[in-house]
Symmetry: C2
Subunit: 199 residues, 2 copies
Amino acid sequence: MKQLHRKDLFGWSEFNNERNLDFHSVLWVREGGNILIDPLPLSEHDHGHLQKLGGVNFIVITNSDHCRDAENIAENTGALIYGPAGEEDTFPISCDRWIYDNEEVVPGLIAYVMEGSKTPGELALLLEHTTLITGDLIRCHVGGELCLLPDAKLSDKKLAVQSIKRLAELPGIIAVLPGDGWPLFNHGAEALHRLARSI
Amino acid sequence: MKQLHRKDLFGWSEFNNERNLDFHSVLWVREGGNILIDPLPLSEHDHGHLQKLGGVNFIVITNSDHCRDAENIAENTGALIYGPAGEEDTFPISCDRWIYDNEEVVPGLIAYVMEGSKTPGELALLLEHTTLITGDLIRCHVGGELCLLPDAKLSDKKLAVQSIKRLAELPGIIAVLPGDGWPLFNHGAEALHRLARSI
């Protein structure tokens, strides 16, 4: 896995031929139990790396299109899966807990529901006030510039815009780590403001 | 290939198990002939993408440890290979042209020799004053923070520091794209200044 912008955050990626961008997953190494977010399949090397970093206790999935390898990893490790409450009725895999808007998933990790996105309960996760981890609604196709999921995929553009403006108003966001596309490690709030102004 | 921060710049990557970071290559699409920098092997998909974008006319190699798949790509495409003049005597593959310090490789692409690095002629390339493409001396192991090749690998630390300070003084650098580690698409000058102050 690749170290991200903090000593306790790691990521691994998979290039997607169809979209010509990388999909990303995040590992947060923490005393109360490590967390994987939207985990892609791990290579043997990355699996070994994860074990050295303490394995995994919790898996958080931002939306039903980002289950990726979560079920398999949970089966092999005993990790608990947390999914978005808004998608409980149709979620493709079973979850141990459903996460609601403004809920503290674990200490220091707050979930925000991104209304109007392509699935009803998509979550964005704010880690210790400074690192925003997004699922599908906020993306980065062009290095350094955040973008929105295409209009055709949104269930309600107005609500999606409101959801993004709400995040852009949060103070102190440094990094934005999208599930799809380039990560931004610095000046995250600035990029969110640019996105909010552009939509 | 992944779009970088400009419509005419693309990249492709390869995760390195030993260092736990991505190696990167850059494609600059331009009217006078497309350029690849430090090209890794291309997947079939990326090769097709490259063809759609006009193929390749020139390959620039920043240092002898970054030849990667250049010779093979040149053989298959007829592209000319440009290498660092300071490594001419020992360069592992034959080059069609040797690049010197402060030389304009093609219009809008200036080469700077990074003295004191692990090889004698390592080049950094400045594209249209705003995008710095580095070989091995300037790297990015921690997202958002540039770093120097470890001291043990440098031939002359003092010269290496001078080379970096020289780049940090160039006005207007927005993006820094290291061959090894995370790209920085915004506030590149700021990151270079932080690096220059820290060494």
